[in-house]
């Protein structure tokens, strides 16, 4: 059930975000830096928990 719920939510998310063809809300030009920031912060959070 958890898998099904997560999959449905994942699918809805992809579907909704896929239609933002022009994206002034989430600017793709800033995407690399923003995702690197998110990834780096997640590395820090995850590694702290895994200690």
């Amino acid at each position: 059930m958890k898998k099904l719920t997560a999959l449905v939510l994942f699918g809805i998310g992809v579907s909704v975000s896929a239609y933002g063809a022009t994206v002034p809300e989430i600017d793709p030009a800033s995407g690399a830096s923003a995702l690197a920031l998110l990834g780096g912060a997640l590395v820090m959070i995850r590694s702290r928990r895994k200690q």
Binding site: F10, G11, I12, V14, S17, Y19, S33, A36, V43, I45
Partner: protein, 547 residues
């Protein structure tokens, strides 16, 4: 700090086994890059007037692709969990990359591109259309097959398929549901935009005299108005948050109590939607205050990501502290231990965060650049005791490597082009002499000191060694493989946008300088030398596009 964890030397070589997850990562990275390139290059709407099989591609190609991606992502996410710890990968000896298959992949993807240019750029019809479409699809499928076999041998694909066969219905379901939901989600955009319009109006009402036109969805003050397009409705952030939240809970479900953890998703979706409302309201207030260029420039570009990152990271940080949601033990002074990844990544994260903020308050010229220098400096100072055991000495060879990287950078720019030439920002030319000098000084200080330290700690000190082992701090840099060098350099290059190729080459040079003697100081010195020469090039020649 414990001196052991950051010691760069470990005499015992790591046990080498075949790691399908690593190979799969290569494959996904390769396919992602190719898919992005193809998506940017080709547009299926150009097939609207086509006939036969080409018309089917034009009408349904994007939906099919979306379904395949959803099915593949689901298979990888669920398969990773299933296989983690359940399969004895030590039984498989390390297998080198199958270069023959990789060459076949290169040839077929080239043919696929060549056929694409005919299919999508010419008005084909009838029998020609069908033959061309079949050839195009065949080349694409062959490229996928050869790519898959280049990284993972067939016998291991068979083991992977047998071990995860029971997950196939979930993947197929995701592949079918996603395109259907895509169609279904169309009707959400209009009401979401209307609701955003009303909420922005409510937020602005106590602050300014609101001027609005509900028919055109235009809103603002007397001095400054914007039109809320459907793509500004907030749904994009909501969708991304849904993907992020669902993916996170799926991957790390053992760390959460269910069903209560599912509440995080709607809470974050609502929050990111409201963040977008406040983003638009803030944008209008900034424009109303006279800073129209800042409102429509840096703030418009950065605020969405700042909000998304704040909500996503806030959700994870908060969830981990709530025992009702998290299964993880709460942090106490007794169980809090060292966090080496943070020491290596934090300066880079601080640099990016400060960069987003400094861009958000700028129109075109990043006047707040010194903030980046201060942010990195503060983090490095905070962790200074952690860095003392790293080898900061450097040799003149690394300086020479930095000169080489500079020459290569300029050469690549000359040969394949880069961003258009720009001169000194107009705003900077109007500043008083001392202010202009101060900004340039901080810009050079950042390029030569804080950027090399932050990026070399993150990309070479962490990422390159993390590729070799989860306990990255025990990996001797001299033991790092070419794959680790290449992957970390590709990611480093990707951070340089249009200059990704020159960035990747420079990354390889810095990585080799690091690997040569295992000293982070060599990588930093090489990077600092390149940046110092680029700074001199900018200031002497006036070619500001290099900054």
């Amino acid at each position: 700090m414990g001196q052991g964890p950051v010691s760069p030397c470990l005499k015992t070589p790591p046990v080498v086994v075949f790691r399908p997850s690593v190979r799969l990562s290569y494959l996904i990275a390769l396919f992602t890059v190719e898919l992005l390139a193809i998506s940017i290059w080709l547009d299926t709407t150009s097939l609207t007037l086509a006939t036969g099989l080409a018309k089917i591609v034009g009408d349904s190609g994007a939906d099919i692709l979306r379904g395949v991606i959803a099915a593949g992502a689901t298979a990888v996410a669920l398969g990773y969990r299933r296989l983690r710890g359940n399969t004895d990968w030590a039984q498989f000896a390390p297998v080198p990359l199958a270069w023959a298959y990789l060459a076949a992949h290169t040839i077929t993807i080239t043919v696929f591109g060549w056929l694409s240019s005919h299919l999508f750029r010419t008005n084909v019809s009838g029998t020609n259309s069908n033959a061309l479409t079949i050839a195009w699809l065949s080349a694409g499928l062959a490229a996928i097959t050869f790519g898959g076999l280049a990284f993972i041998p067939f016998r291991i694909w068979r083991v992977l398929a047998q071990s995860t066969a029971s997950l196939a219905p979930w993947s197929i379901a995701a592949g079918v549901i996603t395109p259907l939901l895509s169609k279904f989600s169309w009707w959400l955009w209009e009401p979401a935009t209307a609701l955003t319009f009303r909420l922005v109006s409510a937020v602005l009402a106590p602050l300014v005299v609101v001027v609005s036109d509900p028919a055109k969805l235009t809103i603002g003050s007397k001095a400054f108005q914007v039109t809320i397009a459907s793509s500004c409705s907030g749904l994009e952030g909501v969708g991304l948050m849904l993907v992020f939240g669902a993916g996170w809970l799926l991957l790390f479900q053992e760390e959460f109590h269910f069903p209560q953890a599912l509440m995080l998703i709607p809470a974050c979706m609502a929050l990111i939607y409201l963040v977008n409302v406040f983003r638009i309201a803030a944008l209008i207030l900034i424009g109303d205050a006279g800073a129209e260029k800042v409102a429509l420039g840096g703030f418009h570009s950065q605020a969405g990501w700042i909000g998304f990152n704040a909500v996503a990271l806030g959700m994870l940080a908060l969830a981990g502290r709530i025992p009702w949601i998290s299964t993880e033990p709460q942090r106490t002074a007794a169980n809090t231990k060292e966090n080496p990844p943070a020491w290596f990544v934090a300066p880079f994260v601080a640099m990016l965060a400060a960069g987003m903020i400094s861009h958000a308050v700028a129109s075109e010229f990043e006047w707040a650049y010194p903030f980046r220098v201060v942010a990195v400096g503060a983090v490095v100072l905070w962790f200074r005791s952690r860095y003392q055991s790293l080898l900061w000495r450097f040799g003149w060879m690394s300086v020479g490597a930095g000169v080489g990287a500079f020459l290569l950078w300029i050469l690549v720019e000359q040969l394949i082009g880069g961003p258009p030439a720009t001169s000194m920002p107009t705003q900077l030319t109007t500043w008083p002499g001392w202010a202009s000098f101060g900004w340039k000084f901080m810009r050079v200080l950042g390029a030569v000191v804080t950027v090399p330290i932050a990026e070399e700690l993150a990309f070479r000190g962490f990422l390159m060694r993390r590729w070799m082992s989860e306990i990255f701090e025990t990996v001797n840099p001299t033991d790092c493989s070419w794959t680790a060098i290449l992957i970390s350099s590709l990611v480093f290059g990707a951070m340089h946008g249009e200059r990704w190729f020159a960035g990747t080459l420079a990354g390889i040079i810095y990585a080799m300088a690091y690997r040569k003697r295992g000293r982070i100081g060599d990588a930093v010195a090489a990077h600092a030398t390149t940046n110092a020469l680029l700074a001199a090039w900018v200031l002497v020649t006036g070619n500001w596009q290099y900054w």
